[in-house]
Subunit: 205 residues, 2 copies
Amino acid sequence: MIRVLLVDDHPVVREGLRGMLEAEPDLTVVGEAGSGEEGVAQTRALAPDVVLMDLRMRGLDGVGATERILTFSATKVVVLTTYETDADILRAVEAGASGYLLKDASRADLAGAIRAAARGETVLAPSVAGRLVNQVRRPVQQTLSAREVEVLALVAKGRTNAEIGRALHITEATVKTHLLRAFGKLEVSDRTAAVTTAMARGLLS
Amino acid sequence: MIRVLLVDDHPVVREGLRGMLEAEPDLTVVGEAGSGEEGVAQTRALAPDVVLMDLRMRGLDGVGATERILTFSATKVVVLTTYETDADILRAVEAGASGYLLKDASRADLAGAIRAAARGETVLAPSVAGRLVNQVRRPVQQTLSAREVEVLALVAKGRTNAEIGRALHITEATVKTHLLRAFGKLEVSDRTAAVTTAMARGLLS
DNA sequence: CTCCCTGTCAACCGTTCGGTGGACGCCCGG
DNA sequence: CCGGGCGTCCACCGAACGGTTGACAGGGAG
């Protein structure tokens, strides 16, 4: 019997997962948590075999909760989320998730992924696997520096370079340097495209 | 007994809703649909009292499905969605939805909203109501014209005005006119802010 | 029928941006 | 200890952008 803990801030989703998993004879839901913090605490208390973890949550998010859980436990973590942005997927895998499923998964997908995770295997939804391959194939993993993100966030609000410089207590020249470096990393050539692609990759906001 | 139809493209969510609603003695789930088209068909076939409708779906979305349903049926539609962008809320209410709930709603919230909708009342989640008030209080409802959206979408991709003009077979001057009008409507003064606020209001992509 | 919105185009001007080519100090890791 | 990434700064140039004003045609609403 595989013991599963559900971590999701939506009661509806928890209820749905519970219903689907309890219908499988070899799976049992031993607990639910509505936040990342609660998920960590419940894992410590219940020592489940597998945690089904939502990514987007208020407070401690799924990635953070996964990292914490794996520091003290052999519990497997399967990430279950609605969206599949490149950055989310990469962060989850880096944090040590044993699987990445989307919420449109069927009962069979879910159960299969949980059993695989319990056996120590890693399962990715097909579309997720493709995106991950794209990430890995790209040799230079393009992470924006904290400062670059800071500048881009202000650009997204429509600030001019001079305004951004004043806001961050740096000169306009420095702002431009940050932006040009960000352009290179994002493979774009203007600020608007930089903002949209950074958002698409989950690097902003 | 209030007869409810579930329309959501996520099996997990449908399962969760079914579980929560079946626990209420006066509610019964008479059917499920995984798409807008199917939702319309099922409503026609089953004539439920209330449809619980997800907004974001592939194909015919929740707003479109709601509009169609209300043309031929007295069925009440309660919108249930994860996100609350201003444009989504307004579109759903304009389409004739009797309620707007978020997926973090509790079982009591859900059941209460369905009962209210069945009685002919309108229920909005508190945060949704606030946003709607903001929309209505703003006298000039700022809807971007189709052409303006088209231009903004290309701006979001980093195209210059001249490139956009060539792509849309208009001159750069016209592109600038569209953009300036969009700036006015969105209350911004540069293209980047225009794109981000348009996205935030759900007017883009 | 008239008004307003939309879509189209034009010219001009000042400001901002993007590109280039530097420069310096810091810190981390090989 | 030395390379490289990061954060900071400077100067210059051409291109792009934002603001303004003005214009005209078509269509839907009052």
